[in-house]
Each structure stands twice: as structure tokens, then as C-alpha cells.
Symmetry: C2
Subunit: 237 residues, 2 copies
């Protein structure tokens, strides 16, 4: 069975916001993906153009790739391969999926655009088979919380990330991709407790850190050690 990818970010487009850097490519989520599970039928929910196709590499034979943006869907279809992948347009805030249809649901850097995480997590929980996995990445709340999400330089010339309003959950307006894009700040606790209340078991929680080899190859990544940009979670139905 197959279903959809909705990247609300890609609905609007412009330049990167202050402090943002694209993560190193490759196996950022490697430790979050189930290794032993049979994930023949997967759903890519609001991931990038290549993510649905990438799921074929995890052993999936059928993938449903969902995205809000027709442009992203067209790009994904054009990139191929399309054998085993069906792409559909979907809005994460209104998502509806067939019950017990997938072994694996995957979402990449989109959940912070979703206002009602509980509704989405319930929808994903219901679409998975018992024992099925939900793996996702989202912007890290340390990265998203600040009123001014950019580096500060302290009296000694040290760069710091000026956290405020961490415990004030709710919308954050940024100029990422387009002016005035709204993201929804949630603490790690809220994200995990919402998953647990929806019936998920937490399997792995990763605050993304570049490896020493990645930093050696690209020294500017060293600043990523100072504050995490990404949170990755693996949960089991």
C-alpha cells in the first residue's frame, strides 16, 4: 500500500534565514531507521523530493510520497525512479490516510510547519501496521525558540545561541524560504509526550550532531556543536 508527502515549507520560497545551514547529506537519520523491520510498504509524509525515492533503498517496494507543493511533486516525479512510488498532493494539517496500510512512515523537516501535531501523529499511528515505524526529523526547539534565531558574539568573541521563550510554545514567524513563514515551536517533551499519548513507543531520540569526520571535511560545521538544528525521532506503533 502506498500514500503521500506534504512539505509546507516548499509552498513558499526564498533564501535561508540567519544561522541556518543545510545539513551534511547522507545518513543523518541512519540510527533512527529500523534495521530489522520489514518495511515493504512505506509512506513519505512531507519530505523532500528525493525522500520518497530514498525509501526504496530502505527495502520498501511500494511508497506513497506526499507533498503540499505541486512543484516539489513534479520535481520528484521527474527525478525518478518511479517504479513503486505514487506521488500525491496533501496538506499535513488535513491529512487522512487508510488504516494499518504502511510499515514505515517517514517525514523530513516538515513537522514544525504543522500546527496540530497530535492530529497528525494520530493519523500516522492509525495508518501504520502494529509494530510499524514512524521516523521523522524536525527543526530542533533550541534552534526554533529564540526571538532572534541567529548567533550572538559574547564579550570574549565566543559565538553563542541566544535562547529565550523556550517554554513559550506556539507560532514563530521567520523569513525562511519566504517572508513571514509560520513555524510551530514545541519542546522535545511536548513532541515525545504527544507521540506517547497517541500510542507510540519511543525508540530513539537524536539531537543531530555532525561527526568528527564531517567536521574535518568541512570545518565550518564545527559551530553546529554549539546548538542543535535538528531533532530526529524514531517511534513504534
Amino acid at each position: 500500500m502506498i500514500s503521500r508527502t506534504s512539505s509546507q515549507a516548499t509552498a513558499n520560497s526564498a533564501g535561508p534565514s540567519k544561522g541556518w545551514r543545510a545539513p551534511p547529506n547522507g545518513r543523518r537519520c541512519a540510527r533512527c531507521f529500523p534495521t530489522s523491520a520489514a518495511c515493504e510498504s512505506s509512506i513519505s509524509v512531507a519530505a523532500s523530493a528525493g525522500s520518497a525515492a530514498g525509501l526504496l533503498n530502505t527495502g520498501a517496494k511500494e511508497v506513497l510520497g506526499l507533498d503540499l507543493s505541486e512543484k516539489m511533486l513534479a520535481r520528484a516525479r521527474a527525478a525518478g525512479p518511479d517504479a513503486g512510488i505514487v506521488y500525491e498532493r496533501a496538506d499535513l494539517d488535513e491529512l487522512s490516510l487508510p488504516p494499518t496500510a504502511f510499515d514505515l512512515a517517514y517525514s523530513s523537516l516538515a513537522l514544525h510547519y504543522v500546527s496540530d501535531a497530535a492530529r497528525l501523529f494520530q493519523t500516522v499511528h492509525r495508518c501504520l501496521v502494529p509494530g510499524g515505524h514512524f521516523v521523522f526529523s524536525t527543526e530542533h526547539p533550541i534552534y526554533m525558540a529564540p526571538t532572534h534565531p541567529g548567533w550572538s558574539v559574547d564579550a570574549e568573541g565566543r559565538k553563542t545561541w541566544p535562547v529565550d521563550r523556550y517554554l513559550v510554545e506556539g507560532p514563530r514567524k521567520t523569513d525562511w524560504l519566504a517572508k513571514g513563514v509560520v513555524k510551530h515551536h514545541r519542546t522535545i517533551g511536548t513532541t515525545l509526550n504527544t507521540l506517547i499519548r497517541c500510542g507510540f513507543t519511543i525508540e530513539h531520540v537524536e539531537e543531530f550532531r555532525p561527526t568528527d569526520a564531517q567536521i574535518a571535511a568541512k570545518p565550518e560545521l564545527a559551530e553546529e556543536l554549539d546548538r542543535p538544528m535538528f531533532l530526529l525521532v524514531s517511534a513504534r506503533r
Copy 2:
């Protein structure tokens, strides 16, 4: 069955460090405690003097209160009530406990003094009955990470918490209680993954936020919304 509390912090004593404030008293952990479970036999591991006695209020009939500090143990014994409580001196880094002996293990603001969390979590897991609960609070990694853990004031007069080295886990030297006290910084992900690898199921993760009523009663607590000081976790064997 009963066991011990080791508060390594209380082994040394002095004034509070910059940015620290005692949390509002009362039910800080309320959402973390199991409400339905029968916790007749509990262990208080490295909590404050009153914590072991407080466990009697959760329904425990037998409590083992452990602390590293003889002074704290003496204070706890003097405070009473002592019916049902046995106090013992113990070092969390060398703790050994009887197997499947407790329904609930509780630790308050001590785990950040423990260098080998995996060893401690394994010991606690083993001492719990199947289905037993481990509830603990620890310093929040956002609070502990910075090179200079104190408020900064930005150009607009806004207070921010200058996070750096969040992803550099390991010792942090502070002057809390005594000069040069060593705490062990771990990300939330590391703490939770270590629990999961030891066999625990994560039940609740709370990044402590004072309530609106607490802030109304004590307006200086409002700054606690800007960055969390405490992480509270409830896990089940």
C-alpha cells in the same frame, strides 16, 4: 523492600551559581508519577532529605532513602517520620541494589553528578519489578551546556541564555554549592536513548515550566519561561 539516596551535590556546600533559582515547591513532578501503579516499595536515590519521606505520600509503605552525604542522612532521619523508611549511605557511581525489589525508584536533581548514567540506569532497571517505575529530575542540558551559564542581555535589553557546546557532552565545572563541582552534561537524546537501551519504556518527558499561577504569585519566575532548568522523566521497566 527498601534502599538508598545519594546526593553528590550535598557532599559539598556553598552559595547558588549565577542564574540558579530554587524551583517552586510542590508538585513539580506530579505529571511524572504513576497514578494507578501500586508503589508500595520505593527507593529514593540521591534525592533531597525530604524526598524519601515524601514517597510515603505516594502510597509507599517501605522506602529506602539513599544519600552520599551523612549530613543529609542525619537531617532526613531527624526530620522524620521514620516509620517505613530506612536510610543508607551510598555513592551513585558505585551503587549496587537487590534485583526486582522495588515498585518505584525516584531521584531528584542528582543524575547530573553521575558520570556513568548507563551503569546507574542498568542498576535501577534491575532493582525494579517488571512494570515498576523510575521517575527522576535532572538539570536540563540547555541549562548545563553553556561555557558561561548565566543570563546575557542583548542589544534590546532582552535577557537570553547563551547556549554553546550543547552537543559537546561531558564534564562541566561549576561553582554551585562548592568551587569546581563537576557535573556531567548529556543531551536529552542521550539520556532517553540510554534508558531505552537499558530496557526502559519512556512514559513522560517534562521540561519544567512554572505554571501561570506560580508566575502570578512570584513574578520573578517569569524568566524561567526563557530556558528550562529542569528535565523530568518517567520511565517504566
